[in-house]
């Protein structure tokens, strides 16, 4: 237990360090700081993974039950997606300025809210659950990277005196960055779709109905449709530029709300997410 907590705190600290480094790197146009920020994020993600591993052994189930585990996994997947993207394409490292603060706040929040442990039940014992949760995490990772790219795009586009544009000059040109924002949104849309499909198959297996308009189901569909609208305005109405970036920026928090916010507001059987342990 102590090791697990210690490792999570260390991961949180490294995410904080990564956030500071990326901000400094961008503000002072120093790419060394930006690269270090990716390294700090990577080490943080490794430590968080180990912490979850220790917890997995202790509790006998993966990190997908209860607010702490669910929000923590979302953070882990978002950071890991970002690290892989920045490693494959180092020019994108400054996009961490839109991603690491989200990771930091969400992990911090989940540690503060750490509720009681949710035990495995008959309804949760299913491979569909694993797929369902994995794709929820992957989708969120993609949405957060899309969000990060859109933030950087917007900051650059809004830089009237060119100062901020200069700070981000190492990033790919705006057009490429915009394409990346859209591609990650599309990837997230695919994963979100798989999350909904596996979730409804699981619901049918677990409790004999594939769709029940439960608040989380409804909100997940809403988020999926909203990203479909985003993709349509891009591909069919040919939106580009600042308003397209704003769309990506507004859509991501909706996905976060659907994943961790709903149980705080609505009564839902999706206790895995809220950690409220209802009806499972």
């Amino acid at each position: 237990m102590i090791v697990e907590i210690l490792l999570t705190w260390l991961a949180l600290t490294l995410y904080a360090v990564s956030t500071v480094l990326v901000v400094v790197g961008v503000v002072f146009s120093n790419s060394r700081f930006t690269s270090w920020s990716v390294i700090a994020a990577a080490i943080g993600a490794v430590l968080q993974t180990v912490s979850f591993g220790v917890r997995w052994v202790r509790l006998g189930h993966g990190p997908y039950l209860g607010f702490y585990e669910v929000a923590g996994s979302l953070v882990l997947f978002a950071v890991a997606t970002f690290v892989v993207v920045a490693w494959r394409n180092p020019r994108l490292a400054p996009a961490g300025i839109g991603i690491m603060p989200v990771a930091l706040l969400l992990l911090g929040g989940s540690m503060l809210a750490q509720g009681e442990v949710v035990e495995m039940t008959a309804k949760l014992t299913s491979w569909w659950l694993i797929l369902h949760v994995a794709f929820a995490n992957l989708a969120f990772g993609a949405f957060v990277v899309s969000f990060g790219c859109a933030i950087v795009y917007l900051v650059r586009a809004r830089s009237v005196d060119g100062k901020w544009a200069k700070r981000f000059e190492k990033l790919p040109v705006q057009e490429v960055l915009e394409n990346l924002t859209v591609r990650f949104a599309l990837l997230g849309f695919l994963f979100w779709g798989i999350m909904i499909a596996t979730g409804s198959i699981w619901a049918n297996e677990a409790w004999g109905r594939y769709w029940g308009w439960d608040p989380i189901e409804t909100w997940c569909l809403v988020v999926w449709i909203i990203y479909a609208v985003y993709l349509h305005v891009r591909f069919t109405l040919k939106w580009t530029g600042v308003r397209l970036a704003w769309f990506a920026i507004i859509a991501m928090p909706l996905s976060l709300f659907a994943l961790v916010g709903i149980p705080l507001v609505f009564n839902t059987p999706h206790a895995g997410i809220g950690g409220l342990g209802k009806d499972l």
């Binding site: 495995m120 039940t121 008959a122 309804k123 014992t125 299913s126 790919p172 040109v173 057009e175 490429v176 394409n179 591609r183 599309l186 990837l187 849309f189 695919l190 779709g193 798989i194 499909a197 198959i201 049918n204 297996e205 677990a206 409790w207 004999g208 109905r209 594939y210 308009w213 608040p215 409804t218 909100w219 569909l221 809403v222 449709i225 909203i226 479909a228 609208v229 349509h232 305005v233 069919t236 109405l237 609505f266």
Partner: protein, 478 residues
């Protein structure tokens, strides 16, 4: 006149703006439907909400927002989306046909065909030879993430033809999904049926306590029945408590067992379109009416539900009737069972020594018998008949869903996701380049189409090539 209106309607339904607005309206509708409590006007949540928000409730009721997802307005929006998706899928199919033909012919390009049709023309640095220009260009394009191969004097990177089919496949599958959901709901039946251990109940509408079914559901075509063979209040498997678990058999019209299994979460009984899931459980009493000679006039099960509020912790649901010699009901009998208690209230399981309280009421409402009876005990009723308590057992309340479209639904989902994966991950691009040498200049020509998921943009490609070849752009043609 009608033709023009029809054309305008089709144009509207096919327009991307209409589709986008429709999707937005649907998401708005779903958000509101998620916030406003759902149910009939007598549902307690709905009533509480209506009392708390009288001003909004007027409008909510006007558009039947409390039944947002079964509402005709919602249905109409979904139908519109379906029509619009069909028209768009058709458009996407035409685009994919054109694209795949273009990809097919581009894959066989050579230097001459690029020279004949290109979009970018760069005059190279005079010091570069043609082979040097080709090599540098290949390196530049690959650095931007596009792998090229040399083919008949040209550099070629052309996606496979199938990459063009992701989007139409996805849109057609979405339409298929809407149709499958629609058909499924029209034929579907879903209900709760109480079956006691040892009891066999026909799968007929009357056997359900609560049931909903689609408009096209035909009950008379169903001839199977459902039996509960056993019940384990705490079934444990693999270290996980699976909860109260009945063993259920589905029988065909001749009473032959089709399938038998324990049903618990993630292990529903499935046969054909039928899915059986344990929803709840309680107790049941099996009793018989016996005449003076000991002949059984009739037997039946009485379902007994747990209730913390009721005296004894159970309430009888329905009841027996006691017939006269002509089979007419003369008395109603009701059986309840007293549970054991602990500090938390009534313990909702079979008591160690089950006994039933039998209340027999005549048709005029007067009680003719009220006493506690043990298993196997016979008590005399007024007249020559007696009541025998045969057994007290568990009953399982089964959720029975009959929907043959579910496998179809899964299949369409898979197709949709395959289409979407192609649209998301596969590149759709053409990059063809060649170099043309004339006595006084070396020109580099590029034909480019970056339709989907390309790692670069056309302007980036053009700028980088111009920089690498040290030349100037002769303008680009589209």
């Amino acid at each position: 006149m009608i033709g023009a209106a029809w054309r305008r309607l089709v144009a509207l339904l096919r327009s991307p703006r209409f589709a986008t607005v429709l999707l937005l309206v649907l998401s708005g509708w779903a958000i509101v439907g998620g916030i406003v409590p759902q149910g009939t006007a007598t549902n307690s949540d709905v009533m509480a909400w209506a009392a708390a928000h009288p001003a909004v409730e007027r409008y909510a009721r006007a558009v039947n927002l409390h039944q947002a997802f079964t509402n005709p307005l919602f249905f109409a929006l979904v139908v519109l989306l379906g029509i619009s998706t069909a028209l768009c899928a058709w458009e996407r199919t035409k685009v994919a046909l054109r694209r795949s033909a273009t990809l097919h012919s581009a894959a066989r390009s050579d230097a001459a065909s690029v020279e004949a049709r290109h979009d970018i023309e760069i005059v190279c640095d005079p010091s570069l030879s043609a082979p040097e220009a080709m090599a540098m260009a290949a390196e530049t394009v690959e650095r931007l993430g596009i792998k090229v191969r040399a083919q008949d004097g040209a550099l070629v990177s052309v996606s496979q033809r199938w990459t063009a089919w992701g989007s139409p496949l996805f849109h057609w599958a979405l339409l298929g999904l809407l149709v499958a959901l629609f058909v499924g709901n029209a034929f579907r039946a879903e209900g709760l049926m109480g079956v006691a251990v040892g009891q066999t109940v026909p799968d007929a509408r009357a056997s359900y306590g609560v049931v909903t079914n689609g408009l096209l559901r035909n009950w008379s075509g169903v001839h199977r029945s459902v039996r509960v063979d056993a019940f384990e209040p705490d079934y444990t498997l693999g270290g996980v408590d699976r909860g109260p678990t009945p063993t259920v058999t589905v029988l065909d019209a001749n009473g032959k067992a089709i399938k038998t299994q324990r049903v618990y979460p993630n292990n529903t009984l499935k046969t054909g379109g039928l899915t059986i899931y344990p929803n709840a459980f309680g107790l049941a009493a099996r009793g018989s009416i016996v005449d003076a000679s000991g002949k059984v006039l009739g037997s039946g099960f009485q379902i007994i539900d747990f209730s913390q509020e009721a005296s004894g912790g159970t309430v009888a649901v329905g009841g027996f009737y006691v017939p006269n010699s002509k089979g007419e009901a003369v008395y109603d009998a009701q059986v309840s069972v007293s549970l054991e208690r602990d500090a938390g209230g009534w313990i909702q399981s079979m008591p160690a020594q089950p006994a039933a309280r039998v209340v027999v009421v005549s048709r005029d409402g007067s009680t003719v018998l009220d006493r506690v009876v043990r298993k196997g005990e016979i008590v005399s009723l007024p007249g020559s008949q007696s009541f025998r308590l045969d057994d007290i057992v568990y009953y399982a309340r089964l959720q029975v869903v009959d929907d043959w479209t579910i496998p179809l639904l899964y299949a369409v989902l898979v197709v949709a996701l395959v289409g979407l994966s192609i649209a998301t991950l596969a590149r759709q691009q053409i990059v063809l380049a060649t170099v043309v040498e004339s006595p006084n200049e070396v020109r580099f020509l590029v034909r480019v189409r970056l339709w989907r998921n390309a790692p670069t943009t056309r302007s980036e490609l053009q700028d980088e090539l111009t920089r690498a070849l040290g030349g100037n752009q002769k303008g680009s043609m589209t």
